[in-house]
Structure formats: structure tokens, C-alpha cells
Symmetry: C2
Subunit: 605 residues, 2 copies
Amino acid sequence: MRRTWLGILSKPVPGELETPSGIAAFEAAQVCPDVRFALREDWGESYSLEKTGDAYAVTGGTTGVLYGAYALIRAIAAGEPLPEGRQTPYYPLRMLDCWDNMDGTIERGYSGRSLWFEDDEFSYDPERIRQLGRMLASVGINVLCINNVNVHQPAQHLTDSLLPEVKKLAAILRPFGVRLMLSIDFSQPMQNGLDTSDPLDPRVEEWWTEHAEKVWQEIPDLAGFLVKADSEHRPGPSVYGRTHAQGANMLARAVAPFGGKIVWRAFVYNCLQDWRDTTTDRPCAAYDLYHPQDGSFDNNVILQIKYGPYDFQVREPLSPLFLGMPRTSIAMEMQLAQEYTGHQIDVYAMAPMWRELLDQAGKEKLSALVAVGNLGRDDNWTGHPFAAVNLFCFGLFAWDPDCDPETAIRLWERLTYNLPADQEETFVSMLMNSRHVYEQYTAPLGLCWMVRPDIHYGPSPYGYEFQLWGTYNRADRDAVGIDRTKKGTGFTEQYPKELAQLYADPEKCPDELLLFFHRLPYDWKMRDGRTLIQRIYDDHFDGCAAAEKMYAELKTLSIPEPDRTEALQRMERQVRNAREWRDVTNTFFHRFSGAPDAHGRRIYA
Amino acid sequence: MRRTWLGILSKPVPGELETPSGIAAFEAAQVCPDVRFALREDWGESYSLEKTGDAYAVTGGTTGVLYGAYALIRAIAAGEPLPEGRQTPYYPLRMLDCWDNMDGTIERGYSGRSLWFEDDEFSYDPERIRQLGRMLASVGINVLCINNVNVHQPAQHLTDSLLPEVKKLAAILRPFGVRLMLSIDFSQPMQNGLDTSDPLDPRVEEWWTEHAEKVWQEIPDLAGFLVKADSEHRPGPSVYGRTHAQGANMLARAVAPFGGKIVWRAFVYNCLQDWRDTTTDRPCAAYDLYHPQDGSFDNNVILQIKYGPYDFQVREPLSPLFLGMPRTSIAMEMQLAQEYTGHQIDVYAMAPMWRELLDQAGKEKLSALVAVGNLGRDDNWTGHPFAAVNLFCFGLFAWDPDCDPETAIRLWERLTYNLPADQEETFVSMLMNSRHVYEQYTAPLGLCWMVRPDIHYGPSPYGYEFQLWGTYNRADRDAVGIDRTKKGTGFTEQYPKELAQLYADPEKCPDELLLFFHRLPYDWKMRDGRTLIQRIYDDHFDGCAAAEKMYAELKTLSIPEPDRTEALQRMERQVRNAREWRDVTNTFFHRFSGAPDAHGRRIYA
């Protein structure tokens, strides 16, 4: 049995258990001899736990009993008190988007090949899929979109000829409260005999309506369709001069009779920008497109918005779209796969970042929390053994967006490694600090995109500079950054007034976003008295030193094997790469600015 | 029949013709009714032509008669006088290296897929291979290395289990005077049961000796083996602490009994360089390695040296190795495939460059002329229809290294398009000037490597800057380039004294190599009074304008279809790309230097 954080469970879930309550009873019995279950069907996903003497009582809805059982197991294993009162997930949709291609590769996957696809077919070990279901259920994740939002053939056939196979997979995960979702291609009608996929053409709507009927007939609890349209060369409604609301609503009407959702990604921008064009500014794109359509999406459409206005960078301001779509169901999209955040080579615990983002957005504005997955066929599921913390915490945040990051990280550590108290402190603060460290040695002051194009890892401060992606820092001998205030591209104006004013004033703008919003000379005086260029140098020296310190600390921890060796090997690479990042970035800015380091440290010519 | 420059020949060569003399008679008869052939076996590849009234006489050796027939056809078709006296090729080895992989791809190929490999097997149209043989013979190319110097599996089996297939291909080309060569992997013994490929281990030598015997038994006229060893992660003798001479000579002894050659590539450098290391300088690598070994290579080893010390850049000085290996058989390696020279999108006729290089090297120092091929399965063989001029001219240069580039280009034009006289002038001068134009808009003053890594096309002035390839320009706010004089890396010292002095003095160094040899400030005064930065700007504006002018001129020419449309489409892309190169490069240097353009032209911020 491949390990998850639930090391306390020693037996695989028997294949004959086909209901959440059956699984709940089996799991709980592995941990405590006396657990009584009470099924309250109207409770749905909710549960409550009670302890009387040595006996426990779990009351819960159909899947609530299962969530209750896992909550009980977590609390017992971590030595923590039971949650008080009835527990209900804040978001009904808690989804993982898996970018798995049917050829077995995973787009931006760093944990091996797909867990369920290979050679353009379904190909999996059912035992491992059950283990996956257990892992997701144990942190409350209830929807799994199994195929890449970039729908490469033959994945279009997941909704027709491959449907019986999807059905089988759904059946394995159903007892764990996990429903499937499928990514579809907006132009699918055109692969099936129609000459258009215009959402206002009655034949198109009819095609989707019939299509949805067939799909839900096979899998009545399918969660819905995920759509990447008009984005990075994917087809969409704009081809026909239609709005995204028109496109999404047409699909929404087709799936509504079955309780299906349309999750519509808001990741739309001009990916063929001319770098000479300084008026077009990619961060403005999504708000410009969607804000005017607020209120025009059907009820069962969820607009899925990446957390920042760019694309999963280490540091971005919250996308202004979260504050500009009050009459639309919206989801925040996180990315567990460490695309721009270290490829699961570098340690990068995301919970502290999510805390910031959710606090800024306001949990009540969202209808769902979604994350791009970081799972693959590697023995440890997530490539880097510590990357599992992100999947774990994501589940907890989606259940309770008020989740405290340190508490969640500590809980994962206790369930997974259960280190001695002093080591736990070291390890938890290593993880808590890991994003800051990575940010320091990679991405100065919110600049973004200083990584190698295509692979999105490793220092390449000018790699994106003259490309088509709308991702520039425009560094020259005097200054760096883009003026995104009213006097520049006007991006700050997409925020509510107070935030707009904060971001627009370089004297007040948070340091870590200074170069996201402003173009500033190298000798700009920061609030702490340092020059901008000195701050860039300092961050890179400090970040690299912090990575070296992490590595030294990790060596002192009694992480069990094989995780210890695996983590040490990866962190050795992290440290080596951090040095490269430090030196390349400092040299790059030194060559432009000519400014010496105030502390005389080595900056290479 | 797919077209070559020999448009005057209307019939395919019948399959039953199996000797050069038979083919010669058939070909000549298509053009003139009265040609007599006299075979003089001792003449080998030589021939002489005579005209008496309307009758022609071709006297020649075994393949000489064939070369004579094609020379006759060329002269008649182009309306030129017959060459006088006995014609003998200057270099006995006139070879094309084809970087074809057995999966059907061609490394750095821009003309479609392999002509003879597909799906890890031989796969070809014999008729087309005969046409290829005719094309090569018509310009005197006599050796074809059919597989990539990077020997990917299953290409190692070309010398064992696939040998019968190689034999079949050899048989098709033999009547055209074309012998095959095979690229081998230095570690091949280790794929066949030995635990070493140490060239001084007797078992290794024995293995190769037996292996060669088997190979030549099947194909007695095989030209030899081509070896890329100790280069870009390929195995080689250095693994065992042996010299390249020891490695090459061991192989040379194995093939010597059969008259085989070992062609040993001198493309060896540290491809894992740390950019921080300013003492290691890639152009120094080959001379440092091979010069001390001069005189220690066996007679049947040919050291194959790329024309410049880097790697087929638009402008490099001649590799100093050509002037430093007087006691070694050496070949100059050209590259018809336009890897760094325009991907067969941009027009780039190479003959003028070869003239410069051969004049500098001195033809008598060389034993062979070799070129990486530019052929593929495209209907027109070379992707861009005008790229055929490079294959054509290469054959002529290898036969006669005193070849005049303009004469050769004009001859190709007459044989291929036979344009009206005024158009011929326009077209020939377009081709003659094409390298200069490409150089102007892409590569300032010999800097090299300002292209996108991996693909080697398109502007990316800092793309290689922090990579492992030893390819840096080290541009900063004050200066650009690398000091390769005694005070710098010392590369100039590898040249004979006079050249070393010329290159080492920035006041005397040829403009087009100025930044290859020197690091200079942007305000450096060029001999014509312009500043260095102004010259960079001017070249890019001028080069782009010249590309636009070429495009306008091409539209006026009556090139026959489908070449006209194909060439116009490609040149439209060339012009678009030239603008991108101009703007990116000028912006890059403007951002560093801050210098305005003296003529107030638009340089983007």
C-alpha cells in the first residue's frame, strides 16, 4: 500500500465496500475499537463527533459520516481535540483539476506519469485509485476533473466512446464521495458533424443537450464540465462574436437538468502580444473581458479564476476579478503542481499564500475552491515527499477557508512524520517559511516571469522579454518594471478605490508588489532606507542563504526513509539552483544598473 | 520525377543501368545526339571533354565518364564553353554528412523527413534515391554519410543487423559514384558484451577489427566511419584517459585493410561551462585539444573541423586549427542545413562565405571538403527552393576549391530557372548578397549566439547568456563582447603571428569580427567614424531594409511555379522575422547603452 499522510491506517480499503458509510466504519475500526455511526441523510456532507469515555460517536450525512470518520482519525493520530459541533464544508465544490493527457503525460506534472491514463487509454491499478479516493476523502476533496483543460485527442471521446471507461473509474471513486468532472472542448460539435460551434446556433445547443443526456445517463452524478475556451489557442465563443456568458450559458442549459455545473475558466488573454505594444497589459485582460458580463452567467456556471491576474506566479496581487463579479458564482483556482514555484524540486508550502489570498478576496465571495493537482504515478504521489502538504492543506482550506496555515501544516506533519517536538518546530517553520525563501531567490519584488520560458523553472531574467506572452519586465540601464497606474497601463484602476490607491502609490504599495505595479529607477529609496537595487541584491543573497540553512536543518531531522533521502536529494538540487538564481539575477541587474553591492559581496561580471 | 537543377533531363535513369558509364551514356543522349565515350580506367574520377563539329567526346575514368557527362550537360544547358583539358577533382573525398535519425527525423533538418529512414527502419522510394544519386553525381559529390553523428538507437545496428539494408541502399547509389559512410558510436563494443571501449584495450581493438571485417565483407566500397566522440555527451577516448589520436588510430587500424577512412570530428568543447567562469573560452577548445596531437594521427584518419571555432555561426573567423595541423589530414566541415543561418526560411547562399574561408585556410591544407546536408523528403528536396544552390555549389567547391562563387551561383540559376538576362542579374546578386543581409539584421559584428537556444532561430540576444554552452556576449551598460586577446582569454594567440596581431588590435581587426575578438564600449569609434552602437543600429536597419528590397525584387522575377509561390511565402516570413530581429536587437542594445539613434529612427523602449 503506497503511503499517504494516513500512516495510521495499515490496511487497504477492501474492494467490496461500496458506500461511504461502509468505508467510514472500516477506517474508524482500524484506529479505535468503539465507534458508533449514526447516518442522517439530510446532513449531506456534514458531520459531528462526540466522545464519551473511550467511545466515539460519528453522526453524519451520506458522505458526512466518511468525512467524520477521517476527522476522527486525524484528531486521534495527531493528538488533537475533536472539533466541536456540526461540521459543514464551507464550499460545496472542492475540486482538483488534473492536467492529465491520455498519452500518459501530465501537463506541468512533476510526479511521474498519469495515475489513470497511458497510451491513449485508461490504464490504472484499481487498488491505487481506491487509495487515491481515500486520500482525497480524508481531506474532503469531492470532485476530480480527470483530463487536461487543453483537451488533446482522444480525450474528446471521454464524453462518448470512452464513457464506459469513465463510468468504471467513477464507480471506484464514488464510495469515497469523489465525483468526476470532465474537461471538454468547445468546438466538439464540429468534430461530430456540425459545421459550427456557435453557441447561439440552435443545432449546437441541441447537440450539446443530447450529448449531455447521454453522458449523465451513464454517470448520473457527474459533477459537470470544465471548459478552457478562447484561451491559448483553444476554441471558444469569440470565434462567432459571442460573449463568454453566451457560450457558458448554452452549455449550462444542457447540463442543468442533471444538476451538472459548467466550470468556465477565466484565464483569457492575448497570447500573441507584440512586445513593442506597451498599451496592452496582460493583467488587465480578464477583468476587461468578464467584469462587464457580471450578472449574465446562469446559476450553474462557475467562473474559475486563477488567484492572480497573471498565471500562478510566486507573488501576484489578488486578481481584481474576485472583487468585481458580485453577481457571478466564482471559484478561486490554486495550483498545487509547482509550475512556477519550484517543480517539486524546491520546497514550497502554499498554505500561507492561500491565507493571504483568501483574506483579500473574502471567502464569502467565492462559491468553490479549485486546485490544479500535483499527483502522479510516483511512489510518493507528489514527487517531492513534502509536496503532499499542499494537497493536504488544500483540502482543509476548501472545507474551511478560515483554516490557519500553520495549524494545517503541523497537522500534516504529525500525521505523516510525527517528529519529536523540537524537530516539529524546525520542520513546520521550514515549511511555513518556504515560499518566502523561494520568492527571495527567484522573483524580485513582484516582477514575475524571470524563469526559463517553456519549462518555467530556473533563472532567465530576460527569457520572456521579447516573446508573445505579454510578460515583460522592461529592465534597462535606468529602471525596471511596468507602470500599471493610471499614468501607465491603468491596471490599478480595476481594484476598488482603496486598494487602487494603495497599489498606485509607490510610497505605500507593499514592498513585495512594488515592481508589479511600478516602474522604478534602481536608486529608488525603499521605506527601509535601502535602494531598490540593494534590496534586489539583498533578497537574492538572503534567499539563497536561507535555502542553504534549510538544507542544513533538514539533515538534522529524523524524517523516515525513503522520504528523508528523497527530500535531501531534492533539496541539494534546490540549493544548487538557488545559487544559480542568485548569481544570474544579481548579475543581470548589476549589468544594467552598474550599482555595486553595498556589502561588497560577490556579484559576477 | 522530382525536379533538380538538371531540368534539361526529362527521363528518369532506368533502373537497369548499373554502371557509371552506362548512366553517362544515357544522360548525355538526352541532351545531344552525338556523344562518344572513351573509358580510361586509370583516370579514376577524371575526365576531359572535346567538341568536334556537333559531336562531343567524353574521355574519363570509371566514374570520370559520368562526371564528364554531367559537366557536358551543364555546359550545354547553361550555354557555356566546355572546360579545357583534363579535369580532376581537387579533393578525393567530397562528402555530405546527413544528420538523419532512424525514426525519420533529421537533426537540424528543414526540408521534411529523412529520405531513407522512417519508423526505425529503412524506408524509401528507390526511384527517388536514384534521382538523389544523379543529383549528387551531377556536381561530383562522392560520399554520403547516411546517419546522424549523434548515433541514436537503433542506428548502432547499421553496422550489424541492419547491414543488409545498408548494402541495398549502397547498391542503388553505387552506379552514381556515390559511396556510403556510416556514423558510429565510440562505445559500441559496450553494447556488444565488452565492459569497456578503451581504445588501448586489446579486446576493444579486436572487436572493432572483427566488426570492420564483417562490414566491409558486405559493402567492400564503404567509405569509412564518421565519429563524434567526447562531444556534447557522446562517449569517447577521454573517458579512459586516452588521446583522440589513440581513439581514432585504433579505429583506423581496424578499417585500413579495406581502404576505409575514419573521419573524426573535432567539435569538442566543454558543453557544461559555468557562465561565471571567464577564463574558459569555448573557441579555444579544439585547438587546445588537437594542436598538440598534430602528427600523431594515422594516414587514414581525417580530422573534420567546422569552419569556425564555434559552431556554424553566420560570421566566425576561420578556425585556427586549419592553420595548426600541418601534419594531419584535415577536412573542412560546412553546413548546408541552415541551422543558425535561417532555417531555410531566409535566403542564404553560402558560396561567398566558403570563398573567404577557403582563401584563408589555403586549399592545399585540406584533404577533403565535407558538408552537413540540407536534404529531406520535401518535394523540392531542400525546403526553400533556393537552398538547392548551396548543395549545388558545395559540389563544385569540393571538386574545385578555387571555384568562383558568383559563377557557381549563376550556373545553378541557369540550369534551374534560366531567367532572362536582366532578371538573372537581379537574382544572382540577390543570392550573392544574401548572407550579408542576413548577417546585418541578425548578428552584430561577429558576436554570435544571439538566437533562441534550442531552435537556433529568431532573435534572443540574451538567450544563451547564462547557459552551459560557453556562448556569451556579456553585454552590460558600458560594453559588449569578450576580450579574446592575450589580455583576455588568449584565443588570438592560436593564430599564426600575423593574423594574431591583426585580430588582436581593435584598430585593425576587420569590422565584421570586431566583437568576436574584443570587448568594446558602445562609444568605440569605428574606422569609418561611427560609434560601435551606431554601427549596430545601422546594420540592423540596413539589413532589414535590404530584406524588404529583396522581397520586392523577388516579386518581379519570373521564377517558375511552384518555386515562385514557395519562395515568396518564405521570403514574406523572412522579412517579418528580419523586422523582429532588427527591433529586438536594437532595443536590447538601446536598453543597455542608452544611446539614441543618430538618425532618429524608431527604437522601441
